[in-house]
């Protein structure tokens, strides 16, 4: 039995879902770079918004250029979720299906509640649906 099998998740769900996996949250080294890759330009306003939202999760030392390796695992998971919601808002992406793999269990109870509240707002405005992967199946959260 596999403890961790991202290939199987990608094969099964890769076509229909945006997959956010705890062990592969980012492809670059900072929020500024992630935004640059996703928006194809610097976006100071988006960076500031994400940093501002991060404060709500007690991430007080967040900066656009701060290396991801200097955040804790849970903080990185939160930042990745905030980045996704920021891009959805900016690009007005509707009906996205977001699949979280080992992400919510990396986040403390309080922060999880705050994050789910944000996702609820995304569902109401943008029709985003949220799923979680556990072992070998997924279930819809929102």
């Amino acid at each position: 039995m596999a403890i961790y099998n991202l290939d199987a998740i990608l094969k099964t769900y890769g076509d229909g879902y945006l997959i956010l996996d705890f062990n592969h949250l980012f492809i670059s080294s900072s929020i500024r770079e992630e935004i640059w890759l996703l928006q194809r330009m610097d976006d100071d306003a988006m960076t500031k918004n994400i940093m501002h939202e991060a404060e709500e999760f007690d991430i007080h030392d967040a900066k656009g250029s701060k290396d991801f390796d200097t955040y804790s695992g849970g903080q990185k998971a939160i930042l990745a979720c905030l980045l996704i919601t920021a891009v959805i808002r900016d690009q007005k992406i509707y009906d996205l299906k977001l699949l979280l793999s080992n992400v919510l269990d990396s986040i403390s109870h309080d922060n999880r509640s705050k994050l789910l509240t944000k996702f609820e707002a995304m569902r109401a405005t943008y029709g985003m649906k949220l799923f979680a992967h556990k072992k070998d199946h997924i279930h819809e959260i929102l």
Partner: protein, 176 residues
């Protein structure tokens, strides 16, 4: 091995811990659950304070870190080098083999392993004959304590943010 109550500063991580009680990792039969908000230093406390002390005291330990992906590759290579026949796809068996070949360890550290396996009682079944102390970082409120409680005393350790002064996070570490 004990972490005495007092102040511990990790300059490079911007963390300043106040440990409120002596944490005794020596007594046989304790299972510590580390809980607290994200970024309050649970993993840093493990890696920069507890593990160096274990090494210094020559106490053998097993550590399953948060990012299990790299660790599984490493484990496979490690066991292969030791001449142990490693199964291709069965990672649970890989883990069992590792534990079976790590019986000199007396401390077992798991950092959020429960997010991969919420029901990880098999870990205790495989290791409680030689492990004296478990240290488990978790965000789950329920961590199968009944599986451990038969042999191990549950010790909850909370990491609480007191304040952030612009450079350091001041964190209270409190047992009980």
């Amino acid at each position: 091995m004990q972490i005495k109550k007092g102040k511990y500063r990790l300059e490079d991580r911007g963390l300043n811990f106040t440990v409120c009680n002596d944490l005794d990792f020596e007594n046989r039969g304790n299972c510590f659950y580390f809980r607290g908000g994200n970024g309050f230093g649970k993993t840093s406390f493990l890696e920069k304070i507890i593990i160096p002390r274990l090494k210094n005291d020559n106490i053998h330990y097993i550590y399953i870190g948060q990012d299990i992906r790299i660790q599984l590759y490493t484990l496979r290579a490690l066991l292969s080098i030791q001449g142990i026949n490693v199964p291709n796809n069965d990672e649970i068996e890989l883990l069992r083999l590792w534990l079976n070949n790590s019986k000199s360890a007396t401390v077992f550290i798991m950092d959020e392993f429960d997010k991969y396996f919420p029901d990880y009682g098999f870990i205790f079944d495989w290791s409680d004959s030689f492990i004296r102390t478990y240290i488990i970082v978790t965000h789950l409120s329920y961590s199968r304590p009944d599986a451990v409680a038969e042999k191990y005393r549950i010790c909850n350790v909370r990491f609480e943010l007191i304040n952030f002064d612009g450079r350091f996070k001041h964190v209270r570490v409190k047992q009980g």
